[in-house]
Every structure is written in structure tokens, then in C-alpha cells.
Amino acid sequence: MTIAPQPAVAAPAPIKGSEAVDPVYRQIRDLVYKVSGIYKAEEKLYLLADGCGRRMKQVGARTPREYWNHLTVQSGRDGELRHLLNEITIGETSLFRSQPQLDALRKVILPEIVADKARQITKRLRIWSAGCSTGEESYTLAMNMLEESDRLLQGWTVEIVATDLNDHSVETAKAGIYGDYALRSTADYFRRKYFSTVDQKKLQVLPEVKKMITFSRLNLQDDSRMLGMKGMDLIFCCNVLIYFDGASKSKVIHQFFSSLNCGGYFFLGTSESLMNVNEHFHLVHFPGTIAYWKPSVNGGKL
């Protein structure tokens, strides 16, 4: 037989004029990576350039070089960097945003966790969507867990804890109503199985999905509340760490590490990394995606 030349990960987006990109954007890319761990690959540099362009209009910078000065030497540079990070991560939220993450979850991680917990009496899986925004990620996880409910997770209880700092986002998340843009990566199979129609343009998540998730407001810097977030098997925290600077970021990551069970996984956004902020986590690769793993008690031997 012949193995079909299908890509193991989604085919990369076509290059959009990367050769024409001003070299200053590469400097900005490196700066963004240094402060946030978010890496804009060469073929995505145009997205970074678009985001910079919008900010340049706001601050009145005429050239990328001038804007670089706004980011590095002028007063208010930290604030500007924050604005830029917001600009380049905006609109990244949608249901089924990262298929490689979901594949890793269902094909590799769940079988591993289920095997690890085989001897436990209570079959319980706890997932935390930290910085859940308007709920897209939480519902995606819930639907994927439901798909496994009569297979791998038969007899298991799955709890998804979804938190966000923003009250308004939490309320929107609870409603579970999404339009075309948020649903652009959602296959018909899932649309039909887990949604009801609100109107021509909107679908609402079914109650059976909603009941798996507890939405609540949480400030990740609230130490006492954070201490209560224990016993997680998986934590998803996409494009949230950009809101923290050095010291508070380390603290939050440390909290996440404590919240995870041994053998648990911590996922970030697709082009996001911890760099070397927490050496206790192991960076692990799955096809098309990376995650951070809290080693099992046996010292992290695979």
C-alpha cells in the first residue's frame, strides 16, 4: 500500500508577501516573543505588520522604525506593548481553534490519563479553561469529552471549570450563542449534534454540553481563590499570560503548576510558549502541537 501524503498537521497558510515585510517587524517579532512567549512565524509576519499598522495610526507613528521607538524607548512603552499584544491576539478565539491540540488530547493524553487513573475508585477528570473569554474553548472541550463518553471515558465524570476576569465575557459564555465567525472551524457533525438554531445566523450550545461546565469570574492574581483551584488534570490558558509581566507571570504559572495533578498537562495558545519561565514543567511535543507536562511521580520517565 501507499501512505497518502496527507499532512500530519494542518497545511501552513500561504506566504503573503513575507519578502516585502520591513525587517523592523522581525525585531518587533523578537521583542513580542521575549515579553510574551508568542511567536509570529515568518509567514504570519504580515499579521503582526497589520496589528502594528493599526497601532501606528493610534500613536501617530509614520514608519515601522518610528513605531519601534514607541515600543522600546519612549515613555509609555510598556503600555504600548500591551496594546500591541492585544491587537495581535484579537480574533483568535473560535470553537475548534486548534485541531492538533484536540487530537493530542483525545488520541494521546486521555488514554494516558485513563490508564494512570485506572486503579482509582472515582473516575473523575477535571479540566480548567483559565481565561475562558466568551466560552468557545470550554464548549469545544466539553463536546470532545462527550464524544469520548461512550468510549474512553465511559463511567467517568468530566468537570470543566471555566473562569475569566471579565464579568461580561462570563455572561456571554454562559449563554453559549455563537455566530458564523466563532463557528468557522466547527464541522457540520458538531453543529448538528450539539447546537440548536437561534436564528439564521446564530447557533446555541445544547444544555447537555452546558451542564458539564461551571463558568465563573476569577482573577488569576487572587491568591486565595487560586489556592482553591486544585486537582486539575488539564489546564488550557490561551493568550492570557500576555497580560502579566515578569514576576506576576512566574507566580501565576507556579499556581497553575500547583493546581495540576501529577501527570497533568498545561496548554497555551498555538504559537505561545512559557520559554523557560518554569523549569518544573516539561515541554512535550505531540503531532502539530506542544504542551507543558507536570511529570508523574516516577520522575518524568516516559
Binding site: 501512505i3 500530519a8 516573543y33 515568518e42 494516558e112 510558549s273 511535543h285 516516559l302
Partner: protein
Amino acid sequence: MIASSSAMIRERVRQIETMPAIPAVFVPLLKMLGSSTEEVRVDEVVRLVSYDNTIAAQCLRVAGSPLFGLAQSPKSVKGAVISLGLRRVETILLTCCLGQAFPAEKWALDPDVFWKHSLGCAMVCRKFSEKLSAVDGEKAYMAGLLHDLGFMVNCLVFSREFAAATERACREEIPLYEAEHAIMGFTHCETGQALAEKWKLADDITEVISCHHAVEHSRKAQPLVALVHLSDLLCRMRGLGYGYYERHKVDLVSDPAWSVLLKEHCDLEGVDLARFTFELDEAVEEIHALVSTVFGSSPART
């Protein structure tokens, strides 16, 4: 591997009279790559290549790829040597020769997928070696390019059994060498070693071919074997694998090969693996494009 199986493989490989369609420049080129770098052999390379217009043309196309970082495509082999250096042009030539070594009808593995993995691994090996001091980048490239030579032998000599192994690997989403082992009782490491010995490849390259899935068996070139082992894993996790989903979790830092490499190169400690991974993704598209133009279904062999 049991001795009788080893003898059988050697005998079957010996019986391969000549590699079908292998360009005449291949064997002298291999010999040159094995000789010391001080020797002046530019004219010899140019002379050799001038016998084969196809190889010369392909060499220029590959050398002009963005992967090699030239602003302008070289116009002649000599021009490529001046821009890229002799050893790099030699490894590019080797890449082109191998690309023509086997006729399409013999493949149990999609040649497109095979070349993407081999060329991808070559590029990753070189990129990896750039992060470490005192590693010969071109040697690393050559090791990456040739590490899976055994798959070619499998296609030619054990095509039926190998087809069954690839089918099983695909179906069960397991590493190909595990399926080979289960079905054939030996793997591409042994068959590749037999061909490497027949071609009288350098000892370190032969060891890469025979030990890249078992670094601990390597005796003479353990750091190089470890480098290829890690690069191979990374390729398989980032869209340069064998075209099917491998249910596989890779913890590079906990892999014994990492310790082997670290013992030799303490600068490995400072490598930001997440960023290295993201940067590798940038090269994936170029590698796909290069393989399609150079090794594609309608090669420009005249």
C-alpha cells in the same frame, strides 16, 4: 536482530546489482564528501556535475531555495560553490542524486512523504547543529538526509512485507519502525546499514543509519546519532513525518539522546526548544515546496 536475519539482509542487499537510475556522479561525490575539507576540489565537483545536466539544474534550483538563504539564485554550479561553499553544494548535489535513485513504481512509501521527511530531517539537523558549537553542520545535514536510507532498501527488496508494515503503522497510528519490527522482524535500521556498508559510507553516517532509533547502541558517533534521533522526532511531530498521525508524546529533554548530546555540548542547555520548534515550522512550507519541485511526480530528468 538475530544473526541469520542480518546475513539474509546483507545477501539480499548484495544482490541489488545497481541502484536503478542512480546518477553516475553519486559514488564519486560520496567519496569526495568523505575526504578532508582542506583539499581543493571545486573543479572536480564542477567537472563531475557537468556530465549530468539534470543534476546540475536541480542543484541550482535547490541552492536557490529560500532555505539556503541566498538573495539571488546562483547561475552556475561554480557560482553556487562561491555563494554557499563547497561542502554545502556537495550535500545539495547528494540530495539531488538520491532524489533520482529509485523509480516511482517501487515505492511502498509515498516518495513525496519520504523526501519531505529526509530533507526536513537534514535541515533540522543542520539548524540544530548551528545552536551547538563545534558541530559540523554539513555532516549533520548529510546524516539527517541519509538516516532513513533503509526505507529505500525496504521498498526495493522487501516491498511486500514493508507495504504490510506501513499499512499497519498507518492503521494503528504507531511509529513505522515498531510496525516493521512486528511484521518483518527487522527494521529500516538494519537494511539501511547493509546498504551503507555496500556503498562504503563513512562509519559515523553508517552508525546514524543503524542506531538512530537506539542511540545507546551507537559506539563511534553517539553525539551525531543523538542529534539525528532528536531531529527525527521533532520532524515527526511538526508535519514532516510519514504522512499519518503518530500517537506519540515526545519529551525531548527526558530522552536519553538529549543527555548524550548535552554531555558533549553544554550549550544545548540554553536552547529554547519552543522557539526552535516555531522556527522549524517556518521551514516546513519551504521544504514541501522544494520537494515538490525537485523530487515531484514529474522530475525534469532529460
